[in-house]
Amino acid sequence: MALLEISNLQAKVGGRQILNGIDLTVNAGEVHAIMGPNGSGKSTLAQVLAGRELYQVTGGQVLYDGKDLLGMAPEDRAREGIFLAFQYPVEIPGVSNMYFLKAALNTVLKHRGLPELDAMDFLNLVREKMKLMEMEQTLLNRPVNTGFSGGEKKRNEIFQMAVLEPRLAILDETDSGLDIDALRTVAGGVNALRGPERSMIVVTHYQRLLNYIVPDYVHVLSEGRIVKSGGKELALVLEESGYAGFGIEDEAEAVGKR
């Protein structure tokens, strides 16, 4: 059975329709890349799947593990194993990274019927995962994302993912704003988490990330619809011809043409 089945998903934000009928099936262990120009609806799709209330679903259905995903609260989706790595991780002054992550992990463990971790076990776990992400341990005691550099924020997202061990990870432009070294580290962290039981949706504007996180499938999104799907080679074709080669206008370029 498919882990995620999106059928004819439509969504809007404010008065603006963004998703115009997305169909996508993700099986266990698969990595799907979603590519598209700015404004094509990539991030909206990621946010809708994670349950952001700002976006209003206007039609369609999403089944996750056979259950109606759209009826679930964001925290229940997370407990069921969905993880969104944010494009812009949120700074939360006053809440320590450690406290936050421990609370999150124990909620998820409890939901899965597993024993909660005590302070020592938790520390051992996070130490191991921080090493993977080449992160300074002092980041644990700092408030969530507060004063982190762009690279530190993105690493922190993948670090959280490594700790929470989701079944479906959605990476929303995790490559944006990263230099090549940071990109390698982040991609390395993601690849270490690949496995037959874990699916991923990798949202990106650029093909570069897909050199490091090699997808099983690539989908091209335009104006809220998937206009082309293929294997990993599709990303390379896209790199060659640009979105224009697919008859898609990148919003930034399109502005002058209106």
Binding site: A73, F83, I92, A104, V144
Partner: protein
């Protein structure tokens, strides 16, 4: 002069049934009563009381409550005799201070000798529990000698309907270091009106944190006067729910050059609560090189809660740095979603963010036992109201 009205007559009656004190003290009381009868209870037509209607206090008949403050006086702290203190705050424009003066009785007067470093906090605990509406007029005076160091913790609690009309006077000598904490946890039906006056010497370092959690109607006046090179940190946290009203008026008077003041007041409002922050900073002509920063931040959790915030900067010197800022906001929707997206429940996420808003003020509490107590109190408070 206002004639003795319905609202002031009960106080005149209480005054006359009060046993006569020694001459000096009785003169003070007489002056206090006279002043109170002159100005009477304030109305909302007066700028200082525009947003705080004290008529529920004026209307209520209170009985004097027999009490005594519980004082923890650490070794090295001496009692101060009334005759050795000339500073008595007697009223001025504040009728509640005048009323307090008229009923000067169970005052706490302490002295920290010059150069003494008192490690343990001085604790003053005030509690009122009566079957009928009652009133107390606590007066605390702490005189800290030059280069001495101490911590003062005032706590106010109680049960039922009552009125606490408190005045605290702190005098810090040259180079003294004084940390002051006030924890107001009055009962839900209580009226709490308090004035704190800190008169700070040259190069003294003073910090004050006023935490207002309880009470139906609360007004705090925190007034500080700085000398040359004095450093003052004036912080406050107010958390109100239901129909609570909490008014914080502060005044920082930079009288001499090179003074520094940092002020941070934070409020968390829920239900139909109302709050007032009025921060006056006075930089007198002589007070060149003053460095003053005022911040008021409010977290409003409901549609019906109201905050009135007003900075009042009066600057008469020309070479100073004074900044002020006020914010009123709600819980950050993105932060809420971020926490939820990691599995934290919505209610818990709201509690966590609300707590986090107050966190930086609690983090600055230097007395470990007090810090832990406040953490527990706040945790329980948000647990109960959050979501």
């Amino acid at each position: 002069m206002t004639a003795v009205s319905e609202t002031t007559s009960q106080w005149l009656e209480q005054f006359t049934t009060q046993a006569v004190a020694d001459r000096g003290l009785q003169e003070l009381r007489d002056a206090g009563l006279r002043r109170f009868l002159e100005i009477g209870f304030p109305t909302t037509h007066e700028e200082e009381w525009r947003f705080t209607n004290v008529s529920p206090i004026a209307r209520t008949a209170f009985r004097p409550y027999t009490w005594e403050a519980k004082v923890h006086r650490p070794p090295g702290v001496e009692r101060l005799s009334e005759s050795d203190y000339q500073g008595w705050l007697a009223g001025g424009q504040n009728p509640f201070v005048a009323l307090n003066t008229a009923f000067l009785r169970d005052f706490v007067m302490l002295r920290v000798p010059r150069g003494a470093v008192i490690e343990e906090p001085i604790k003053i605990f005030t509690c009122q529990e009566a079957q009928v509406p009652s009133v107390i007029h606590p007066r605390t005076v702490v005189v800290v000698g030059a280069h001495a160091q101490c911590t003062i913790i005032e706590t106010y609690v109680g049960k039922g309907t009552y009125f606490t009309n408190a005045v605290t006077e702190i005098v810090a000598g040259e180079g003294a270091v004084v940390d002051h904490y006030k924890v107001q946890q009055e009962a839900a039906g209580a009226f709490h009106i308090a004035t704190m006056q800190a008169t700070l010497g040259r190069s003294a370092n003073f910090s004050s944190l006023s935490i207002s959690l309880g009470g139906a109607l609360v007004r705090n006046d925190v007034n500080t006067t700085l000398a040359e090179g004095t450093e003052a940190t004036i912080n406050g946290l107010y958390i109100a729910d239901g129909r609570q009203h909490i008014d914080n008026h502060t005044q920082i008077d930079h009288a001499k050059p090179h003074g520094t003041s940092h002020e941070l007041y934070k409020g968390i409002l829920d239900g139909k609560a109302t709050a007032v922050f009025n921060g006056r900073i006075l930089v007198r002509k002589d007070a060149q090189k003053t460095d003053s920063k005022q911040t008021n931040k409010n977290l409003v959790l409901s549609d019906e809660a109201v905050i009135d915030t007003k900075p009042e900067l009066q600057i008469f010197a020309d070479d100073v740095r004074c900044t002020h800022g006020a914010t009123i906001g709600q819980l950050d929707a993105e932060a809420l979603f971020y926490l939820q997206s990691r599995g934290v429940g919505k209610k818990e996420a709201r509690e966590l963010l609300t707590y986090a808003f107050a966190q930086d003020l609690i983090d600055r509490v230097k007395v470990q036992s007090l810090k832990e107590r406040l953490e527990t109190v706040l945790y329980e408070k948000f647990h109960e109201h959050g979501g």
